[in-house]
Amino acid sequence: MDFGLTETQELIRASAREFLQDRSKSDIVRAVAEGDNEAITSLWNDIVDLGWPSLTISEEHGGAGLSFSDLAVLLEELGASLAPTPLVESSISSWVIDRFAPDSLKSDLLPQIANGDILFTPAIVEQDASWDPESVKVAATRSGSTLVATGEKRFVAFAEQATHALTLVRINNEEPALVAIPIWKADGVEQTPVAHASGVPVSSLTFNELEVPAGNIIATGNKAIKAVEELTAAGGVARAAQLAGLGRAVVDATVEYTANREQFGRPVGTFQAVQHHLAEMAIAAKQVNHLAHSAAWSFSQEGYSVVAAAQAKIAASDKIAELCWTAHQCHGAIGFTWQHDLHLYTRRALAWKTDYGDSAFHKSKLANAMGL
């Protein structure tokens, strides 16, 4: 058991903190939430320059060849700063492409993801809001070397910025297939943005007889199902890492506030009722951090632990949302205002809670693994 960071991880953490301190300030987070897409592009371009999208891509394909644990350390900092950027979407997509795509597709796509020429985002969920791959309905018909896709994918994050959607479809109403669908300014793709609590762009994608080369198929049949299960697990762990960082940031901010806010002639943080709230928040943040690290580490090993991934996402979803509500209570009325940044964290925590399988979804996965 080693709860410490490696030298590389310490370096990642330090440089991420330094960068995000300036580049993910609350005025930028707020601007993005109000629709400033240029701020997203500008931040993403800098992140591409830092090489972050290439972090877990193998060196063979132009990446840095680092581990999922290393990625988790970076994602914590992105979570703590609420960075409005599609690094999870990109990293999880490249992770799944690397694990499941045929070699030719890998050597085509991964180097382009690594250098920022293309950006992937997962498009799995449909009208029923389910992350269960078996429930997929979006239809693709195969004619020769072309797939023709029709149907609607929902809750696609950063679809406005992405060049490709990692999309689960059902071919000829039967076999599931995971496909790299080019969506950037594509005819036959209609985007419907929704107003999402995450404060980043989220849209529905409607495919209207969209033609996609069959060579873009990453996996079919059981392999496609497996790929989406792994995508959901990896995405859940990535969100858990972000939520761990977010939770830590909210604990720090609440300590800072209650240690300075005075009532009855003393800081409110001296009152036991407030201290106990904070102690419970600190325990929750620490637990989510450990579970996220443990699950991320399992992805760095052969295969990954379904159990650890589910535990991390359940804990992150439930505990960090609760932690944020408690932080509001500790802040009193000021934390109930639009002007105060706390609700930005709470909104993000509530949004991430639903992402890549909510708590109920992962509890069911975990119960399956327990033989229940």
């Binding site: 058991m1 080693d2 709860f3 410490g4 960071l5 490696t6 991880q9 644990s69 604990v251 300590v255 209650t258 240690a259 003393r266 800081p267 943080g269 001296t270 036991q272 201290q275 106990h276 904070l278 102690a279 419970e280 600190a282 325990i283 620490k286 637990q287 989510v288 450990h290 579970l291 690290h293 443990s294 991320a296 580490w297 399992s298 159990v307 650890a308 589910a310 535990q311 359940i314 804990a315 439930d318 109920a360 509890k363 069911s364 975990l366 119960a367 327990m370 033989g371 229940l372």
Partner: protein
Amino acid sequence: MRFDFTPEEKDFKRQLSSFLDDVLPADWHGPADESRDDHWELNQDIKKGLAQRGWLVMSWPKEYGGSDSSPMMNTIFAEEMAYRRAPGHDRFGTRMFGPTLLRFGTEEQRKKHLGSIARGEIQWCQGYSEPNSGSDLASLQTRAVADGDTFVITGAKIWTSLAHRADMMFMLVRTDPEAAPHKGISLILVDMKSPGVEVLPIVNMAGVHSFNQVVFDNVRVPKSNLVGDLNDGWRAGMTVLNFERSGIDYAAWARAALEEMVDYVKSDEALVTSAKTDPTVRIKLAELHMEVEAARLMCYDVSYRQGKGEIPSSEASMSKVAASEVYLKVLDYGVEILGMYGVLEPGSKQAELQGRFFKMRLFYTSGPILAGTNEIQKNIIAQRGLGLPRK
């Protein structure tokens, strides 16, 4: 970042597990806590066996009977013992008093006491709480007055686990009533057979005699039994609490109880058949599974930090709070799943799982209370861990 055990640690765990297979009766279900009065002989037998294999005090230096192992090995030991609900690991001697003596004792005291703990020969108990000094421990009033080569002790200790089985007690006494509360306390060792020591049993709400009140009426103790400097006992005494404060026992007990409950739900023999088909049951059990793992990792983190030479007092408090609370959550849910059978007393006809869950739930009401209540732990987390002001 690495979340598995080393080959050496895995190997030790296998050896310990196979030893326990041999010494525990077939179909053993506890009781888990060594401070209980039942199964005392089994407790002693297992303790001797563990001592012979050098497992009781692995993290101590070789010269005192240990093997210089990492704190993680101790945690693996404690976890496996608790997971199997095995008696015999003597936490008072091995986990609390021994490490304190290693830090604060004289060479003569170490030679005299550590060997017998390592060999599993002497049972220690801990004399801290008093009838009027619980969470506010520094207000303790039991007096020790110097008289020639001895101290004369008068007063009373309470909630003393295993006092009725113990050979020796390490206790906090007031040696300077004029000084500020923390500055007038000393740590001293008392032979429980000394004239004037009286042990009065207390039966807990689970119906078990596990702890006692101990009355001291002019008990004479040699001055050489003082540990550390006179009036400097608070520091040594608090160090004991740092050693005591890990949640690993609770985390392991919780895991064992959860697994027992999962097996029950799956079993074709379960009388409460609805548990198998009720979809909320599997979801709740999965949630508890996550909670148990979260608590367990907190405990490993404490050992990891101790191994690096830190004194992780806030993390230790966190692990105690998290693990003692999750254990009760598991037991509560176990009792709930059993429905009307859940409240049958052990030994009752028709009791499912021999009424164990109900009894454990009552017994471990003590978890969030003992060794510093969870409220005190949260104060420590907030003040020492998060740096919130005291005033």
